[in-house]
Symmetry: C2
Subunit: 364 residues, 2 copies
């Protein structure tokens, strides 16, 4: 199976995104009257920044996608609400994007738009979602700064909800901004993920639909597919904070979500990202590959495959980076290096014999 | 007809909101480690604030509700896309909330989550939405700082989209914060709205469904019902900015949205808000009352009725407030005054003989 088979025509979305980007660019001129400015080269990055003179403010708006449909299916079948994890996932998908620019979150807001008031009648699910979101904020070191709750009948499916939100963060002092100053020979540090986190869920759902036991299907480690899919995402803001405190300059950070490992070549300048040590494949990714079946290259192009965040650092900073990350509770390792090979841009996963070229990642 | 008949059980939503608020409160403790703090009495206000020492950062997450369903119906019937106005509405609903605390927006993000990629295939609608959102940002003096575009099949209706977003703003210097320092005798300045803006749309849609010509039904000013409903909202950030520049202290600001005029008693301390000069009723509100039919009190409890924003100011500041607002292009007038009547809390619309007591506004 391929992600494209799950039915989303990205060309159409890209046309809309381009229209938005085109319309958005001139609006930055307004900032001058507010004593602020848009920093260079910020459009297309994972977070928007505003230069307020003494600091950068960071802003991210994000959605959870369709992961709550998995939680709903598991809840219906087993009576077990894993919505606490969904709450953590929702914070993770927002603040991990924010952290890629070096910003630490201050306020995170939740948006829950259900298709009917009935959706909110499940008190267990509601409490779990709220507690999970609060736990996510705690893990991110941010305040839960309000949000929006709405019923949108005629827009959202009556049995479902759109879960989304936003975060405000700050980079201070300004030199902590991670702007993409990558150089030949930089080390690629990967950070372990916990399961699929928040991407590739459409494909995961399509696979579940074809399994006789659906989400109750056991993995070879004895857990069920549904339970494993719903492991809560890792929140990487604490890694970024730990590196800042340890004065480890971060040259670039990648939140490995949509487009999977192809995201590692997100920066515009051409480099080759050579991975010698990918993560050991866990039971969930093995299951997805075997039961999809999903080709290994397609799997790396879609899922995080065990690494949810990447940091590019100077070789001389690697030890301190790993120590700082480890002390903050993150499993991190040097997985490879960045190479300058003229104008060539690619991600190479050496042990798997996989190469993604520049054309495979069209969207930033 | 009554708003409650449109099918949203707010008691269930309120239970969820309370669970969220309860879980959210302790998360503010995280801010200390970031050199920031949550200001007192901010929970329950329209915008969340973070005190960063030299300034307040403001954060709002909001949604458009179901107004785009009206635009879709008009588009389908007449071929005319009024999505430019929807884009302006979306910015308005976000930044008007932000402005109530005295914050001026810096970055506004759009979230468009459609039920199918097909939704984005209408290039006219997409371009209009993008242009309108950019125009809204321009009117708000903010940059369009990115956002999120998603297809959520199985969550959102395939023919529809959830339109939402967020804003980051700032209050600097900090004394410009509007915190609710209301006093007996303060003047109530109302600002004209443009149509229903972004609230009461469920009721408007229910009324359309019972009209033989639906949105094509003419109002007595010759325009159609659909066209009038889709007039773009007024963005009030410029009014707040003009008052700040003219050094007019704003004691409290109310964005008149859900709960209509009952919102005027949003502040916790009991006051009586006595309105002597409500707006002259326009063709759209007359139509809604007559064709609903919607009782006058219910109309004031649901719609903005011609006034989308209220400012409470010292009587001695009224002239300068009106002059500043007028120079910035806002239609504003002194509509009444705030009275201290012991522990009584009410909104009185004197010429209409309407009184809303404290019990009529349970949700903040």
């Amino acid at each position: 199976m391929k992600y494209a088979q799950t039915g989303v025509d990205y060309d159409v979305l890209d046309a809309f995104k381009r229209a938005c980007q085109k319309a958005a660019v001139p609006t930055a001129l307004s900032l001058a009257a507010r004593g602020a400015a848009e920093p260079a080269a910020i459009r297309g990055e994972s977070a928007y920044l505003v230069d307020t003179g003494d600091a950068y403010l960071a802003h991210v708006e994000e959605g959870l996608g369709t992961k709550n449909l998995v939680a709903d299916a598991v809840l219906e079948k087993t009576g077990r609400s894993l919505y606490r994890n969904i709450g953590i996932d929702l914070v993770a998908t927002i603040v991990n994007d924010l952290a890629t620019c070096g910003a630490l979150p201050l306020s995170v807001a939740m948006h829950a738009a259900a298709g009917s008031a009935e959706w909110f009648r499940d008190a267990r699910r509601c409490a779990d979602l709220a507690e999970g979101f609060a736990e996510g904020c705690r893990l991110a070191g941010a305040a839960w700064g309000g949000g929006e709750t709405a019923v949108l009948s005629g827009v959202v499916d009556p049995s479902s909800a759109v879960l989304a939100g936003s975060a405000v963060g700050r980079i201070q002092p300004k030199f902590l901004r991670v702007a993409g100053d990558v150089r030949d020979g930089d080390a690629i540090v990967l950070l372990a993920s916990r399961g699929v986190q928040t991407n590739g869920l459409s494909l995961c759902r399509a696979i579940a639909a074809r399994l006789p036991e659906e989400y109750a299907t056991p993995l070879d480690d004895g857990r069920t597919y549904g339970e494993a899919l719903l492991d809560p995402s890792v929140i990487y803001a604490g890694f970024v904070e730990a590196c800042q405190e340890a004065v480890v300059p971060l040259r670039y950070l990648v939140h490995i979500t949509g487009h999977g490992w192809r995201k590692m070549m997100r920066i515009e300048e051409p480099f080759v990202y050579r991975i010698e040590k990918p993560p050991v494949e866990g039971a969930l990714f093995r299951f997805l590959r075997e039961r999809g079946p999903v080709d290994l290259k397609e799997a790396f192009a879609t899922f995080n495959m065990g690494a949810g965040f990447a940091a590019y650092v100077r070789p001389t900073d690697v030890d301190r980076c790993l120590r700082a990350g480890g002390a903050a509770g993150y499993e991190a390792w040097v997985a490879g290096s960045v190479r300058k090979e003229g104008t060539r841009k690619a991600v190479e996963i050496v042990p798997a014999g996989i190469v993604f070229d520049a054309q495979s990642l069209r969207v930033r």
